[in-house]
């Protein structure tokens, strides 16, 4: 089903309503639902959270748009609530963390492959190998602190193998900045991809910042502090690929189009009928938001939204295991490092980053400590005969 952005009005804003009960829908089953249903829920929470954050910032910088921003933002907030409340209460915070990293790996890998700009695709692959390593470290944490198997969450879609070592990921802020796409020449899908990944990483940073201090285990607390720091680097990296010369309304229109695109992608892939109905409903809501913002764009900028947006939404994001792509990237690019906006071989990093890293790790590395000698196997590392049995 192709979604035409200029022929579809979506649900009118005035009809986008929620009861309080609706905000707390029956959650998914941690045991029975497909892991990709949870992946989509987490990603869409991040997409909505970032839309809300962007719109708040806009309102503080543009008096004329305050009123429409407030109206749309309220709906975005309730959409985020309804989506995030689909997660069930039996997920422990580390289990949810495993799911967050699964989002980062599977969605970034899918986006890296659909990205037409080779430099941006490289940026995604670079970040991918770092999140991939976080999965390994957090899986060790889940196993060694709670005695649980990360694969109960991953459902064999995503590998638990070291990537670019987390302790090597600490870089000087200068080396986290990337070249941004050019608003005039970049393809619309490149702009949407950047928003998707930046939103996902931003919510991951926020999630770790919120739950990190709720742990009592000191290594867990320290590990969350460490990986939150890397997620902050990732938000810097992905935020920097977005063209800062876009106007506020141009950005807002892209945000709305991206929300629609993501709901469309989720809807196309969803296996849980109750959740699919939510994706369908919210696709229509986002198309309603987009229609409002397109009118504002015409009114304030006297430009045609078609200058910015594609006629139809791009092909949906692939929600399937990206194991082979990730392994191939791992093989080719594990030794890549960043120097300024460039990617270089290990050994060619800037001295600032080396100093920064050395200092960060100088009193110990929680990511190395938690995973020393860790080999994932089904049923946890205590299940020593698991591999023979399989």
């Amino acid at each position: 089903m192709a979604v035409n952005l200029f022929d579809t009005q979506g649900t009118p804003l005035a009809k986008q309503k929620f009861t309080l009960k609706e905000l707390s829908p029956p959650p998914i089953s941690k045991l029975d639902d497909d892991a990709f249903t949870r992946v989509r829920i987490i990603l869409m929470n991040g997409i909505e959270q970032q839309a809300n954050r962007f719109q708040h910032l806009c309102a503080q910088m543009n008096g004329a748009l305050r009123e429409p921003l407030a109206r749309i933002r309220r709906v975005e907030h309730h959409q985020q609530t309804m989506v995030n409340w689909l997660l069930s209460g039996d997920h422990s915070p580390i289990e949810t963390t495993i799911a967050y990293e699964q989002v980062a790996i599977e969605v970034t890998a899918a986006i890296a492959q659909q990205e037409p700009d080779e430099y941006l695709a490289q940026v995604y692959r670079y970040g991918l190998l770092e999140d991939f390593d976080h999965m390994y470290r957090y899986s060790a944490l889940l196993d060694r602190v709670e005695g649980k198997d990360a694969n109960n969450i991953l459902q064999s879609y995503t590998d638990v193998i070291p990537g670019r070592p987390t302790s090597d990921e600490h870089r000087h802020p200068h080396d986290d900045l990337r070249d941004h796409y050019d608003r005039a020449t970049a393809q619309p899908i490149s702009k949407l991809n950047a928003l998707t990944i930046m939103s996902g990483e931003y919510q991951t940073r926020d999630y770790y910042m919120n739950i990190g201090p709720t742990f009592s285990d000191p290594v867990a607390r320290n590990l969350y502090a460490e990986i939150a720091s890397i997620e902050e680097q990732h938000v810097t990296q992905y935020g920097s690929i977005i063209d800062p010369n876009e106007t506020m309304l141009e950005k807002w229109m892209l945000y709305e189009a991206n929300e629609a695109y993501n709901y469309y992608s989720c809807m196309e892939a969803e296996s849980n009928p109750q959740v699919k109905a939510i994706w369908e409903r919210f696709l229509d809501y986002e198309l309603g938001h987009l229609a409002v913002v397109m009118d504002l764009f015409k009114q304030h900028e006297r430009r045609d939204p078609a200058e910015i947006l594609p006629q139809t939404l791009p092909d949906p994001i692939a929600y399937e295991s990206q194991r082979e792509f990730v392994r191939d990237t791992l093989k080719r690019e594990i030794n890549l490092r960043a120097a300024g906006t460039d990617f270089v071989e290990k050994g060619q990093e800037n001295p600032e980053s080396l100093k920064y890293r050395e200092y960060m790790n100088s009193e110990g590395s929680p990511s190395d400590a938690i995973s020393a000698g860790y080999l994932w196997q089904p049923g946890t590392e205590l299940n020593t005969d698991a591999i023979r049995a399989a």
Partner: protein, 250 residues
């Protein structure tokens, strides 16, 4: 009818996706450079944190040294009255939480009764236990007040027992859990509660607080009945599930 355990599309094990699992296992073996678990680094790091750690907090200083505490201080020469206050604060918090735990279970039973016309566990008995937990909370409150301690303060062990109880209270609160699962949570709480009352009695006796120990013994007898009743309902629920019969009534 009580929800029974059923087979379905549980996707958590490797058996549900044999091809992917095989790839995952072989990948982990081939691409993870180390194979021998090494807990040394984690232990060393924890050790550093333990060395530099503070405490959970302190037992509050009694506002006034009231009669009972004064008397106790006399008897407790060379002993540590804070240890008793800490444990009394813990029991008080646990009993107060216990009231809420039973209320949560009662709400679930009432909801099920309104759906099926019949409560899966006798509601009057659950309410009776809830009332006794409330009595125990008040007993501890009075004892602490008599000693001049502040029963509204959180003692260190009260705080830690609150941490332990976090998982327990999540079970009956989840609308998806069965009565059997809720009863297991109640049983875990009651077993811990029984052991804790026994300890509190010994501690009070050791501190020379014999009247208080007598009161606590009465509470323990009630708690022993709680364990017995909850264990019985829990076992019936599990057995009924195993035979696919209706849930226990009495």
């Amino acid at each position: 009818m009580e929800k029974s355990t059923e087979m379905g599309m549980n996707r958590t094990g490797i058996g549900m996706s044999p091809i992917d699992s095989k790839a995952m296992i072989s990948g982990a073996q081939q691409l993870t450079p180390v194979e021998k678990p090494d807990g040394q680094a984690m232990m060393l790091m924890e050790q550093q944190f333990v060395e530099n750690a503070g405490t959970i907090g302190s037992v509050p200083v009694p506002g006034t040294m009231k009669g009972a505490l004064k008397a106790a201080m006399g008897k407790m020469a060379g002993r540590n009255p804070e240890a008793l206050l800490n444990k009394m604060g813990e029991r008080l918090a646990f009993e107060r939480g216990g009231v809420r735990l039973y209320e949560s279970a009662i709400r679930k039973c009432e909801a099920l009764a309104s759906l099926q016309g019949d409560a899966p566990v006798p509601l009057d008995e659950l309410k009776h236990i809830r009332d006794e937990e409330l009595e125990h909370f008040r007993l501890l409150k009075n004892c602490m007040t008599e000693m001049g301690a502040d029963p509204t303060a959180v003692t260190p062990d009260a705080d830690v027992s609150g941490v332990m109880a976090l998982g327990i209270q999540k079970v009956p609160a989840d609308p998806r859990t069965s009565i059997g699962q809720c009863l297991e949570a109640l049983l875990v709480a009651e077993l811990a509660d029984n052991a804790a009352w026994e300890l509190l009695i010994s501690l009070s006796e050791q501190m020379g607080m014999d009247d208080m120990a007598d009161d606590f013994r009465r509470a323990l007898r009630q708690e022993e009945t709680h364990v017995q009743r909850v264990r019985g309902w829990y076992e019936q629920a599990v057995m009924a599930d195993a035979t696919k019969e209706a849930a226990p009534r009495h």
